[in-house]
């Protein structure tokens, strides 16, 4: 079978194309209007949602800190409360900043570069959510310390101190483990990605697979024949 044969088959029934895409000016105006409205691309919506939720969370932390400073007397407990909420607010702010940077990058991506370059950038952006997730996990231990004070730690019951140590210690271990392991380089580790998929990150996982495909596609096949 010759190459021409494939091409001939490909050209069959091209007459269908004649009735395709019949757009006049009014229809195009309407299309522009509709598309401009739906410009919030699938990549943008999750990031915008993340930014809004993050900002809301930061505002809530700041509100709690300022209320605490204004209405309750100065005590050792405040150090834990303000410190924990402060760290949570700062790590959330870093994650929000990364999302904002991604949004800026999305706006810079056109469609006119080579297919491999654009698709790689898009897949990379889809994966970039894991950077923010890693940072967000770092705040986990501080959700187990905001209510503490020196008195509880020095004079609390032994059982309370053991439980507190186990809970905070466990949270520190988990957050550090996730921070170190949730990364693109570990995409083939089932333990990490099984965990992430369970939390709705399957689209990120698919984007990573596509990035692998692109890398493979870019690589020169071994047996070159022309």
């Amino acid at each position: 079978m010759q190459d021409d044969y494939l091409m001939k088959i490909w050209q069959v029934n091209d007459s269908q194309a004649d009735h395709f895409l019949e757009i006049d000016e009014p229809a195009f105006e309407k299309l522009q209007h509709e598309k401009a409205k739906s410009q919030l691309h699938k990549l943008i919506v999750p990031k915008l949602t993340g930014i809004l939720l993050g900002l809301g969370w930061i505002a809530f932390m700041i509100l709690l800190i300022s209320l605490s400073l204004r209405y309750s007397p100065v005590s050792s407990g405040k150090i834990f409360f303000i410190g924990s909420l402060g760290v949570i607010a700062v790590t959330t702010a870093v994650a929000v900043f990364l999302y904002v940077r991604d949004l800026y990058t999305i706006r810079q991506i056109g469609n006119d570069d080579s297919v491999v370059a654009i698709q790689h950038k898009l897949a990379e952006l889809q994966c970039s959510v894991i950077r923010s997730v890693r940072i967000m996990w770092l705040q986990l231990p501080f959700y187990t310390t905001w209510y503490l004070n020196y008195d509880m730690l020095l004079h609390g019951s032994l059982l309370f101190r053991i439980v507190q140590f186990l809970v905070t210690g466990g949270a520190v271990w988990l957050s550090v483990w996730l921070f170190r392991n949730i990364r693109y380089e570990n995409r083939h580790k089932k333990r990490v990605w099984g965990f992430m998929r369970g939390y709705g990150f399957s689209s990120v996982s698919r984007a990573m697979e596509f990035m692998d495909e692109i890398e493979h596609f870019k690589a020169q096949p071994e047996d070159v024949k022309r």
Binding site: N13, E25, L31, K42, S114, V115, R206, F210, F217
Partner: protein
């Protein structure tokens, strides 16, 4: 501005055949095909300022259209709202198998070719589509963003695979 729009629409009419082929290669469901075609037209209009007259218009157009098509295909299969290519391929396969009134051998082979192309990965699908549209290896390399040698090797492999499958199906 109206003139610019008119010129753009005229250009789209002149080039609607390749757009039709791209839409067919990346989605077989009619509604999705129309959706994708509109998205391509809109993105071509939006990217119009990036076209450098020093380069071939078709290279620029294929880049934009294929980027839009691959992103569209990936995002729709991800959320599962699009009839998957496999489903469509099955439809075509069933039609080919059942349709004894298919008198036109060429049309049957065309359906088969589309089905086989639909089974390829989206980047390989782009290569064979450009090859079948009689683009040179050089232009395909520019559109895809890989080397000419890589294009040649990959296309050769895909062609061989397609030929074997078509021969096997026809026997």
């Amino acid at each position: 501005m109206p003139n610019k729009k008119r010129e753009f629409l005229a250009l789209i009419q002149e080039n609607k055949r390749p757009i039709f082929k791209i839409c067919n290669a990346y989605c077989r469901n009619r509604e999705d095909r129309e959706d994708l075609a509109q998205e391509i037209v809109y993105q071509l209009w939006r990217s119009e300022h990036t076209y450098d007259a020093g380069y071939k218009f078709s290279t620029w157009m294929y880049r934009v259209a294929l980027n839009v098509a691959i992103s569209f295909y990936r995002s729709h299969t991800n959320i599962g709202s699009m009839v998957s290519f496999d489903d469509c391929a099955n439809d075509v396969e069933n039609a080919v198998a059942e349709d004894t009134e298919y008198e036109n051998e060429a049309e049957k082979n065309r359906q088969l070719l589309y089905r086989l192309i639909g089974e390829l990965k989206e980047l390989d699908r782009m290569l064979i589509l450009l090859f079948l549209e009689a683009k040179s290896y050089k232009e395909i390399a520019e559109i895809a963003g890989i080397t000419e040698t890589n294009v040649a090797t990959r296309i050769n492999r895909i062609k061989e695979k397609l030929k074997q499958q078509i021969t096997y199906s026809n026997n």
